[in-house]
């Protein structure tokens, strides 16, 4: 261990001020601080001791919380592949296909994003931030397995540069970076991110009666064609694959087509438990998104003007990406509301908007993405009024 430290210390002067590679100091520093927590000490006056936490550890916690979704996603991609083709496969074959599709997306996402991060840190002379380690994992989890890799690279580059670096880097961005990438794909290349893209078929022919439609698409189609209750339609979709393919339980467990990491509400809840248990993610945001979606679902049930509105409220929580978005995207501390009361309002409105967009907007079957982006924009406004409340309280006290 000492030997590695010696090597780093030997080359360090080259990167420090006046050194040969001074330009690349922050690149060097990123690797150095990855291997070794630095020897920085506290200033002469002030707090002489500091908490054991740092940004790396916090971000690491978020990444670990996404692992259940990633691992399940890998399995599910393979599982859906063989299911649609009507072939039997061993566990290893399923995971093999999953890895083959998912790993390249993860690699491309990280490689593109980190390359940009390092470039910017060199040009703008700021430390490499850990934030992208989370974003780089989120992007693969919110795209379909069939996405072309160049699109992943392009979307990542767009999101990191336009979504984050132009604002000054991690901590300064207004929109969630991973969602910016997803939105970019959605509007730039709609063909590759809607329709029959959710199951990787690999050129094979799916079994008769197979439908690549996600539950959201089924719900929308049924409702707009006035073809009876959505729940019935879901129950009759893809029965050739399995009897209860779009049953509540199966959708909760996540053995359905969809974006790589979003299908399993169960795995998302595992991640949420870790985030909430460690306090890294705000439970207020997470819980209030679910509350908002459920409340709006109930309200629609009461109105029940069309079949989509009649969809039982709890279905909204397990279909589409609501759970994933609530736990991993809405709770992003940088783009969420930052006041405690604001977090409740912010989360609740995300839930409400998601269901409204789902039910009313024919162009966007999935509402969570736009709901979060919209509320990202409104979060500072919510905070403004919460903070104003705090200020007014202080003023009021003065006159007493």
């Amino acid at each position: 261990m000492e030997a590695i430290r010696k090597i780093i210390d030997k080359y360090k002067p080259n990167f420090e001020k006046g050194g040969k590679y001074e330009r690349f100091y922050y690149v060097f520093e990123a690797f150095d601080t990855f291997l070794y927590a630095p020897d920085l000490t506290t200033p002469v006056k002030g707090a002489h001791i500091r908490d054991a936490i740092d940004m790396k550890r916090m971000m690491n916690t978020v990444i670990v919380s996404m692992l259940p979704c990633l691992l399940f996603g890998i399995y599910n991609v393979g599982y859906q592949h063989f299911l649609a083709l009507g072939q039997d496969a061993t566990f290893m074959e399923i995971v093999g296909v999953g890895l083959l599709k998912v790993l390249p997306i993860v690699v491309v996402s990280y490689a593109t994003g980190l390359a940009i991060e390092f470039t910017f840190s060199t040009i703008r002379r700021h430390p490499v931030n850990e934030g992208f380690l989370v974003t780089g994992m989120l992007i693969p989890l919110v795209v379909p397995p069939t996405i072309p890799l160049w699109q992943v690279a392009l979307a990542t580059a767009f999101a990191v540069i336009i979504g984050k670096e132009v604002f000054g880097g991690t901590g300064m961005n207004i929109l969630n970076v991973a969602l910016t990438a997803r939105a970019f794909l959605y509007f730039a290349y709609p063909q590759q991110i809607s329709g029959e893209v959710w199951t990787y078929l690999g050129g094979g022919t799916p079994v008769d009666g197979y439908s690549g439609a996600t539950p959201l698409a089924v719900a929308y189609e049924t409702s707009s064609n006035n073809a009876g209750a959505v729940v019935d339609a879901l129950a009759h979709t893809n029965t050739v694959l399995s009897a209860d393919f779009y049953s509540f339980t199966n959708m909760f467990l996540g053995f359905i087509p969809g974006s790589i990491g979003e299908t399993s509400t169960l795995m998302v809840i595992l991640g949420a438990l870790l985030l909430i248990g460690t306090g890294v993610g705000s439970w207020k945001v997470i819980v209030s998104v679910f509350m908002g979606a459920f409340a709006m679902g109930l309200l629609f049930n009461a109105i029940s003007a069309n079949a989509y509105m009649e969809l039982p409220a709890h279905y909204h929580l397990v279909i589409g990406g609501l759970a994933f978005g609530a736990v991993f995207m809405a709770s992003d501390p940088v783009t969420a509301a930052q006041t405690e009361r604001g977090k409740w309002i912010y989360g609740f409105l995300i839930g409400v908007l998601t269901v409204i967009i789902r039910v009313f907007n024919p162009a966007y079957p999935e509402g969570i993405m736009l709901a979060i982006l919209l509320m990202n924009v409104f979060a500072p406004l919510i905070d403004f009024y919460v903070v104003k409340g705090n200020k007014l309280k202080r003023l009021k006290r003065a006159t007493v």
Binding site: Y36, P38, G46, H48, A52, D54, R57, M58, L395
Partner: protein
Amino acid sequence: MSINIKIKKGFDINLKGKAEKKIAESPQPETFAIKPTDFPGITRPKLLVNEGDTVKAGTPVMFDKMMGGIMYCSPVSGEVVEIKRGAKRKILEVKILADKKVEYEEFKKYSVSDIANVSQEEAIETLKKSGVWPNIIQRPFGIVANPEDIPRSIFISTFDSHPLAPDYDFLFKDQEANFQAGVDILKKLTPGKIHVGLNGNAEVSKVFAHTKEVEIHKVTGKHPAGNVGTLIHYVDPINKGDMVWTLNPFGVIQIGKLFLEGKYDCEKIIALAGSEVRHPQYYKTYTGSCINKFVENNLTDEHTRYISGNVLTGEKISKDGYLGFYDHLITVIPEGDKFEMFGWLLPTFKKLSFHRALGLTSFLTPKKEYKLSTNTNGEKRAFVQTGMFERVTPLHVLPTYLIKAILAEDFDEMEELGIYEVIEEDLALCEFIDVSKHDVQKILREGIDLIKNS
């Protein structure tokens, strides 16, 4: 009206090396010092002595040109041996080689019954010239009070909840009469009340609980329960234009002694604590003492940081450095200038954290005593995590927003967000728990200076 204050927010930092409640036999340090840098707000210190002059305890050594009349006096009698200056001839330390036996400047003595008859002018005049005035701190801004101001009320917190803090009941044992006399004098300085904060977490204080002519409040909860800022916030919060004064009990007792015994008595009991101290215990000495004698041959490791004050708000001094004017504690902790392989990733059982992110286990063992070093445990980052400062700040201020307003130098925002209510110690915990490792206290002081000088 007495208030029972229960604070829920906050964080107790449980460190190794608490001082044992006994006073060590130790020779007195040879030198003592007055450090103008101890007094925030002092702008133009002007010396009244030269090297080689002899002084008594209570002889004026310097004063602030911007606030005439307030004398900063020698804590002991002896000879001025060195005036240490820094860049631009800034005065750093006035060192005094102490006599074996302390001689005192004589001030007028009063009996307990006389004190009631002391006029306000007489009281202020005596306080100013005798060296005790700098004990009076003004809020907002946390600077030495201006004798021409009239404070709305005066606050005294009678316990210290900082890590390794000395027990005030032990420090000020049997000083009830002096404390009462001090309070009686302070009473003349304000038309309002004198508020005394008692420790609700401990037994009823023998020294402070029976003080008369004051409002007694009980504060219960985690640190910063003992901060006077917390007490002010719940009893009589400060808005723009308001002013209150605060004192440490030591200052009140010193004032009491001045009037009862007619001398500027700087004798104080201090604690020596911290994980690196072999025998953490209490010492009897005088304000501004050199710490050398106390720490010599009393440490388990030499690569240490000496702090005058506590680990949250104190100041780093050298091994031959001097105790700060307001401090009753010397803390010695290990320097943390070491690299740690995968320090950010591996689980740690030896480090304390307010957070629970992966690998941080300290929340499982709340009673454990920690040995913490001065390592920052990470690099500086932009603000990312939110809502954390608010969880350790029991005041209705939003520290994150306040700090951001200061960074943006937005004066209106700073005022509206309550910069008048806080000084460094009130937000020290934010600095400790910050994921992004900001120097919160330094930023806050810059903001206070901006507002003060605007």
